[in-house]
C-alpha cells in the first residue's frame, strides 16, 4: 500500500511542478526577470541626470552578462590586514521598451582557502549565502559586510540607475577637470545606502567619486573610481577604493580583472543552484 502512496506522491509532485512552472523556459529566457520585475522598469524625473547616470553605469558595467575576478584588500591604519578573491558572474540589463531589465549575480569565493566553496547570490533585492558547512543557502541582508568597508551590496550591484532617483545639483572643477555632481536617493528600502553624492567626469562620463550617506545624513563611506583601463571593449575602472567615512586610513581596495562577456542560463540564478556552481 505504501509503495502505491510513494508512486502517487511522485505523480502529484510532477503535477505540482507543472502547475508552478506554468510558463515555458523559452519565455523566461526572453524576459530574464522574476515575476514582479516590472516594478524595476524606471524613469528619472531629471532627464539630464538620467542621461548622465545611465552613461556612468555603462562605464562601470556593460549592458550585457559578464564575469570577472575581484580581489578585495582591506587596510587598517594604512596596513594591509585581510584579502579575499571572488569570481563574480552578473547580468545587469537595463530595462527597455521591449523588455524589462535584469539584476542578478552570483559570487564564488576563491580565497582564502577556508572560504573555498562558499557562494553568494543576488536576485534584485534578495541575497543568499551558501556555505558547504550549512548544507543549504541562507537568506542574508545587503548591509552585512563581506570584508572591511565592503558590504554585500557593493559587490553584487553595479547600477545606480536602477536603485536611485538622481538629480543633477551642480558642476564642479577638480584638478582642472569638469565633473557633474549628482544627488542620488534610493527608490526602495532594500537598497543598501539611502543617499549618495556622485561625481561623474563631464567629458567621458567616467565615475570619479561617490559619498554614501545614512538616512540621517551621516557620511558612511567614500568611494574613488581609479585605474581606468581597457576592459570589455571600453575604458573601465580597474580599481575602486572604499574609505570608511571618518577614518581615511581604514579603506578597502576592490581590484577588478579577467573580465569577460559570459552568459549563463537564467536558472542558475537561484538559491538551489548555488550548491552546483563550480
Amino acid at each position: 500500500m505504501k509503495r502505491y502512496c510513494l508512486l502517487d506522491g511522485i505523480i502529484l509532485g510532477v503535477a505540482l511542478f507543472f502547475m508552478f512552472d506554468h510558463h515555458s523556459y523559452a519565455e523566461d529566457v526572453q524576459t530574464n526577470v522574476p515575476g514582479d520585475a516590472n516594478q524595476y522598469v524606471i524613469d528619472q524625473p531629471d532627464k539630464e541626470a538620467q542621461g548622465i547616470i545611465v552613461r556612468a553605469d555603462r562605464v562601470r558595467s556593460p549592458n550585457k552578462p559578464i564575469t570577472y575576478k575581484l580581489r578585495l584588500i582591506e587596510y587598517r591604519e594604512g596596513a594591509k590586514v585581510k584579502e579575499q578573491l571572488l569570481q563574480v558572474t552578473m547580468r545587469f540589463i537595463k530595462p527597455s521598451e521591449n523588455a524589462p531589465g535584469d539584476a542578478k549575480s552570483f559570487v564564488s569565493f576563491l580565497e582564502p582557502e577556508n572560504l573555498l566553496g562558499d557562494k553568494m547570490l543576488s536576485v534584485f533585492d534578495q541575497l543568499w549565502y551558501y556555505t558547504p558547512k550549512a548544507r543549504r543557502p541562507i537568506r542574508i541582508s545587503r548591509q552585512q559586510r563581506l570584508i572591511g568597508q565592503v558590504s554585500n551590496g557593493d559587490v553584487v550591484a553595479a547600477d545606480f540607475h536602477y536603485s536611485y532617483e538622481s538629480n543633477l545639483i551642480s558642476e564642479e572643477t577638480i584638478s582642472n577637470k569638469a565633473y557633474y555632481k549628482l544627488r542620488l536617493s534610493r527608490r526602495w528600502p532594500f537598497v543598501t545606502y539611502p543617499k549618495i553624492l556622485y561625481w561623474v567626469e563631464k567629458e567621458t562620463y567616467h565615475p570619479f567619486k561617490a559619498e554614501f550617506f545614512s538616512s540621517s545624513d551621516r557620511l558612511l563611506k567614500r568611494a574613488y573610481y581609479k585605474d581606468y583601463r581597457m576592459a570589455l571593449g571600453s575604458l573601465r575602472p580597474g580599481e575602486i577604493v572604499i574609505e570608511e567615512g571618518l577614518q581615511k586610513n581604514n579603506y578597502t581596495r576592490m581590484l577588478y580583472f579577467d573580465a569577460q562577456f559570459k552568459d549563463v542560463p537564467d536558472s542558475y540564478y537561484q538559491p538551489s543552484y548555488l550548491i552546483r556552481i563550480k
Binding site: G9, Y25, E113, K133, I140, R145, P271, Y273, K278
Partner: protein, 461 residues
C-alpha cells in the same frame, strides 16, 4: 602517539581509496581539517538522571578529529563529493557512543560520498550518500524531513541539544536524487531506500540506535524551491513512503531583518513518553518490562512543527537571531510531570533497596535522554533560541558568539559562549564555556553534565 598514528593511517587509507577518482579528475578540490579539543566538564550530581554521579563523573576529556573534504570534477558534466570524518573521543559516560560501548572510541564516518551527473542543461542526477538539508531557519528546521544525525562530539560548542548552522558532522543518507532547474525554481525528486532496521521495529528503547535512522525507512521526497516569486520564494516539500509529511518554508527581508517562517505536518519517526501504567506498577512494587516503561507516539498520526525567527545583521557586524520553535509531538505538561515523578520514584526506591532493578530503570531514562541529545530531537513542545554573534559573515579574525536555548515549560535552558580567533589562513584557536540553567527537576537541569569549559585548535590544510 597512537592518535597521530591513527590519523596518518586514515589519511593514507583515504588517499589510496580515492586514488582512482583523482586519477580521472581534471579538477580536484581537497581540504583536510584537523583539530584537537580539551574539555573540562562538571558532572551534575543533583541530576535525577545521574544520582551521586552514578553514570557520569568525569572532569577532563579530549577529542581529536580529522575532516577530509574532497570534490572532483571529471568532465564538464560529472563530479563527485567525498566528506569523511575520523575522530577519537575520550569520554567516560556509560554507553556514550551510539556506535560502540567503549568509553574511548574512534569514529570513521562517511558523511557524503556521491557522484553527480548533469544529464541535460538543467537536469542533474545524484547518486550515493548525501546529506540533504532543507529549511531556512537557523536553529530547528521543521522541513528538514530526513534530519540525519549530527555527531555528538562538538555539539556542546553550538548549542546543547540543537542543530547548528555550521555543524560539519551531519551524516548523509544513501539516496538517488533527480533535480530539474528552471528560472522559476528547482524541482527535486529524492528516493531514500531502506537498508537498516527501523526504530519502530524495536520495542525496547535501549535497542534504538541513532545510526538506524539512516536509511531505516523507504522514503520519497518531492521538493519545489521557488525562485521566481519575488520576495516570497517558498520552499515546499512533501515526504512519502513509510513516513509522510508536507512542509513549507519562506523568508523575507524586512530591511535589515530577515524573517524566516517554516512549518510542517508529518509523521514522526519515534518519540517516547513515560507510561503512567508502568509508574503505577512500580509504585506497587511490580516490575514492568523495559518495553513497557515508555509509550510510543502514534507513528501514523500527523504532528505539527513550526519555527518562526528573526535574523538581524547590522552593518557594524552584529548578528542577532531569535527563533521560536513549536513541536506538537513533544511532551505535554502532564507528561513532563509524569516524567519527573517517575525519576523521583526510581531515585528514592534505588536508595531504599539494594536491588539494582531500579537503577536499570533509571538507565532507560538516561539512555532516552542521551538518544534525544544526539539526534537533535527536543523532547518538549515550546522553545526559544537566541543567537548573538559579532563578526563578518565570510571572514573574521575574531568572532564572539553566544547561544541560548530555553524551554517554555519550566524556563530551564542551556547557554554557551565561544570565542574564535583566526591566527592566519591555516590556524584557528577557539575557547568557550556552556552551562545548563535550571534545578534538578527541570528539562535542562536533569542533564548529567552541568557545565563544560573547552579550548581547541584547528588546522586547515
Amino acid at each position: 602517539m597512537i592518535v597521530v598514528k591513527n590519523i596518518i593511517l586514515v589519511l593514507i587509507f583515504v588517499w589510496v581509496a580515492t586514488g582512482p577518482f583523482r586519477a580521472f579528475a581534471v579538477e580536484i578540490e581537497t581540504h583536510i581539517e584537523m583539530g584537537i579539543e580539551w574539555h573540562s566538564p562538571t558532572a551534575n550530581s543533583n541530576s535525577l538522571l545521574n544520582p551521586n554521579k552514578t553514570y557520569y563523573d568525569q572532569n577532563y576529556r579530549y577529542h581529536t578529529y580529522l575532516l577530509f573534504k574532497n570534490r572532483n570534477f571529471y568532465t564538464e558534466n560529472l563530479s563527485s563529493i567525498l566528506n569523511i570524518l575520523f575522530e577519537r573521543v575520550d569520554d567516560d559516560r556509560i554507553n556514550l557512543n551510539p556506535y560502540k560501548n567503549d568509553s574511548d572510541y574512534y569514529n570513521f564516518i562517511v558523511n557524503d560520498a556521491a557522484l553527480s551527473y548533469k544529464m541535460f542543461e538543467h537536469v542533474y542526477i545524484d547518486l550515493g550518500k548525501m546529506d540533504v538539508k532543507t529549511g531556512m531557519a537557523f536553529f530547528k528546521n521543521p522541513t528538514d524531513f530526513l534530519f540525519n544525525p549530527s555527531h555528538v562530539s562538538r555539539k556542546g560548542r553550538i548549542s546543547y541539544n540543537g542543530s547548528s548552522l555550521t555543524d560539519p558532522y551531519r551524516e548523509g543518507s544513501f539516496l538517488a536524487k533527480l533535480e530539474y532547474f528552471t528560472s522559476q525554481g528547482a524541482m527535486s525528486l529524492i528516493y531514500v531506500p531502506k537498508f537498516a532496521s527501523s526504530p519502530e521495529d524495536n520495542k525496547d528503547i535501549t535497542a534504538q540506535r541513532i545510526w538506524e535512522r539512516i536509511n531505516s525507512q523507504n522514503l520519497g521526497l518531492v521538493k519545489w524551491n521557488s525562485a521566481g516569486s519575488g520576495d516570497f520564494n517558498a520552499n515546499i516539500i512533501m515526504m512519502l513512503g513509510d513516513r509522510r509529511g508536507i512542509g513549507a518554508a519562506t523568508s523575507t527581508d524586512l530591511d535589515k531583518i530577515i524573517l524566516n517562517i517554516e512549518a510542517s505536518l508529518k509523521n514522526i519517526p519515534s518519540l517516547f513518553a513515560p507510561s503512567s501504567d508502568a509508574l503505577n506498577r512500580i509504585r506497587s512494587f511490580q516490575f514492568p518490562s523495559a518495553g513497557e516503561v515508555f509509550t510510543r507516539r502514534d507513528t501514523d498520526s500527523f504532528y505539527f512543527e513550526g519555527t518562526i525567527g528573526l535574523d538581524f545583521r547590522s552593518s557594524s557586524k552584529y548578528n542577532l537571531i531569535l527563533e521560536y520553535y513549536y513541536n506538537q509531538a513533544g511532551l505535554s505538561r502532564s507528561e513532563w510531570d509524569l516524567y519527573f515523578d517517575f525519576l523521583k520514584l526510581l531515585n528514592s526506591y534505588s536508595q531504599l533497596t539494594n536491588t539494582s532493578v531500579y537503577k536499570d530503570y533509571l538507565g532507560l531514562f538516561t539512555e532516552k535522554n542521551r538518544i534525544q541529545s544526539y539526534s537533535n530531537l527536543l523532547p518538549g513542545q515550546h522553545y526559544m533560541f537566541l543567537h548573538f554573534q559579532k563578526d563578518d559573515l565570510a571572514i573574521s579574525d575574531l568572532s564572539v558568539s553566544v547561544n541560548y536555548l530555553f524551554s517554555f515549560f519550566d524556563y530551564s535552558g542551556f547557554i554557551n559562549a565561544q570565542i574564535d580567533y583566526l591566527f592566519n589562513k591555516k590556524w584557528k584557536f577557539y575557547a568557550g564555556a556552556g552551562t545548563t540553567i535550571g534545578d534538578s527537576n527541570t528539562e535542562f537541569g536533569i542533564n548529567m553534565i552541568r557545565s563544560d569549559l573547552y579550548i581547541g585548535v584547528n588546522y586547515l590544510w
